[in-house]
């Protein structure tokens, strides 16, 4: 559907998109996640012909967009884009939704029927004659989506469509995105800084950092095997540490973190490595509880407890290495956990994810 070949874009001296290669298959939801200001919006704008790449080529169904001047409507009318900030024309809701069809020379009566259909889909029936500017942000974003989808695009581009919305509106927009993808077969490329949204919607995820796709793959693989410390950090892994690896036996790697030694799985020769351990994979023990089956057992003192709703992050100082684990609010109380208490942490070797140092 969309193919990116060494696509780059710079504004002045600043390189925003740095030679991206990717293929986005038909009918899939492709989500670009990454922190703000990494070039996600720019990439979507390039695909929508709102900007032109400084270098490289973009193909739409095999046709190079290079052949089309910036204001050509042939290709652009096959796609549509919803922007991060909800906007509406200073017109009624119906006129707003029908705008794209008006540009395509569709008759007023036909537009009217199609608009009614779309209003029903987005749950705003009866809003035809309302001034679109009086709608809430969530409603306006639904109108923006309907305004694009009424033109039956082959490709829908969504630039952080829920970034400015409340949770209820976000859910509604996500339902609509899924609905249009499933029922109309629309290929969707969306950007998001919310990785869980990526996980909920995406078939394929690309993690974008510094203008590059640093990792691209199925959602679950990105979450379970981040390729670098930056990605691990972005997807919310708390314990990211650097150490020296040495192969102990086939498949087992020993990592010296400079105070403690832990074991992980993989094949690394003598080298500096990054390790990532999810807090939820680390178990906290207060007393000698008999035999612990996990490969890694380290002891330390609690240095801090940070509440996050009903769970808390307990940060443990293990000989100068700080490891974070998750404990429920109930356990904090029952075990009487507080800073200064000596505890043991255990985690299995497969929980230690090894990554190269960059």
């Amino acid at each position: 559907m969309i193919k990116l070949e060494h696509v780059s874009k710079s504004f002045g001296d600043r390189l925003i998109i740095d030679s991206i290669d990717a293929e986005i298959p038909q009918g899939k939801i492709f989500t670009i996640i990454g922190p703000s200001g990494q070039g996600k919006t720019t990439l979507l704008r390039l695909i929508n012909l709102l900007d032109t790449p400084s270098d490289g080529e973009i193909f739409f169904n095999g046709i190079s967009l290079k052949k089309y001047p910036k204001n050509n409507t042939d290709i652009r009318r096959k796609m549509g884009m919803v922007f991060q900030t909800p906007v509406a024309f200073n017109e009624t809701v119906a006129t707003n939704i029908g705008m794209g069809l008006t540009y395509r020379g569709i008759s007023k009566s036909e537009i009217q029927g199609l608009v009614a259909e779309k209003l029903d889909e987005i749950g705003l029936s009866g809003y035809e004659n309302r001034k679109a500017r009086t709608l809430s942000g969530g409603e306006m974003q639904r109108v923006s989506l309907a305004r694009v989808m009424i033109t039956k695009p082959d490709l829908l581009l969504l630039d952080e469509p829920t970034a400015n919305l409340d949770p209820v509106s976000t859910t509604k927009i996500e339902e609509l995105i899924r609905y249009y993808n499933r029922t109309c077969g629309t290929t969707i490329i969306m950007s998001s800084h919310d990785l869980y949204q990526g996980q909920r919607l995406a078939d394929i995820i690309a993690v974008m950092m510094n203008g590059k796709f640093v990792q691209l793959g199925e959602t679950i693989s990105v979450f379970s095997e981040p390729c670098s410390a930056d990605v691990a950090h972005f997807i919310g892994i708390r314990n990211i540490l650097q150490g020296r690896a040495s192969q102990v036996e086939n498949g087992l790697v020993q990592v010296d973190l400079g105070g403690i030694i832990i074991y992980g799985l993989g094949s690394y020769s003598e080298d500096e490595v990054m390790v990532a351990i999810r807090p939820e994979e680390i178990t906290l023990h207060v007393e000698e509880t008999g035999k612990i089956s996990a490969r890694n057992i380290v002891s330390g003192f609690i240095s801090d407890i940070q509440p996050y709703g009903i769970i808390s992050h307990v940060i443990v100082n293990c000989s100068g290495i700080f490891l974070t684990t998750q404990v429920t609010w109930q356990s904090i109380r029952d075990l009487n956990l507080k800073p200064g208490i000596e505890v043991k942490l255990s985690f299995k070797a497969p929980s230690v994810h090894l990554m190269p140092v960059r």
Partner: protein
Amino acid sequence: MEDILSAINTAITLILTWNPDVIEISARTIEITFTSVLISTIIALPLGTLINFSSFKGKKTLISLIQTLYSLPTVIVGLVCYMFLSRTGPLGFLGFLFTPNGMIFGQTILVIPIMTGMTIAALQGINPIISDTIRSLGANRLQFLTSHIREARFAIMAAVVIGFSRAISEVGAAIMIGGNIKGHTRVLTTAISLQTSMGNFTLSLALGIILLGIALIINLMMGYLQQR
């Protein structure tokens, strides 16, 4: 205070008695002003749109220049037009001097900069995401421009109202080009000027009130259009 009250009184009497001189002058004022604002709009709206959506060297300087011309003294416009339109001037062949057409010519020149500048400002005031949305929805070049004008219609209407206000209230150009000839080129402002110089302050004020009344009606009409 008494003068003002008596001026209001005179104004009301002049209107209620349908004073033929006042009606004639007012009608001419409206006709000349409307025509010049119409011509200015036809020129300034496309011109402002063109300037706003083109990129060329010196664009900022041009816009600053246009904005500077907002302060163009009406007498200077009158004087320059007089020189151009006089029998020996380059536009003397038009025969516009001391005619309503000449006054329309002068007022048009006076109003074009302000309407052009305000059209540019109105279009610049449009949220850039709206511009992106218009393009993204597949508008062609013409649809792109008309959608922007439509989106900025209230601000553009304000530009027309301001242009109208400047045209109807100016006296310098009207008197220099028109010559304040009774029954031919006399308008409200030139009549006010004449009556003032003759010491008829009450009548001057009364004519001023009538002028404001006309402006008020126009503004109310514009306001009504905007609400629709």
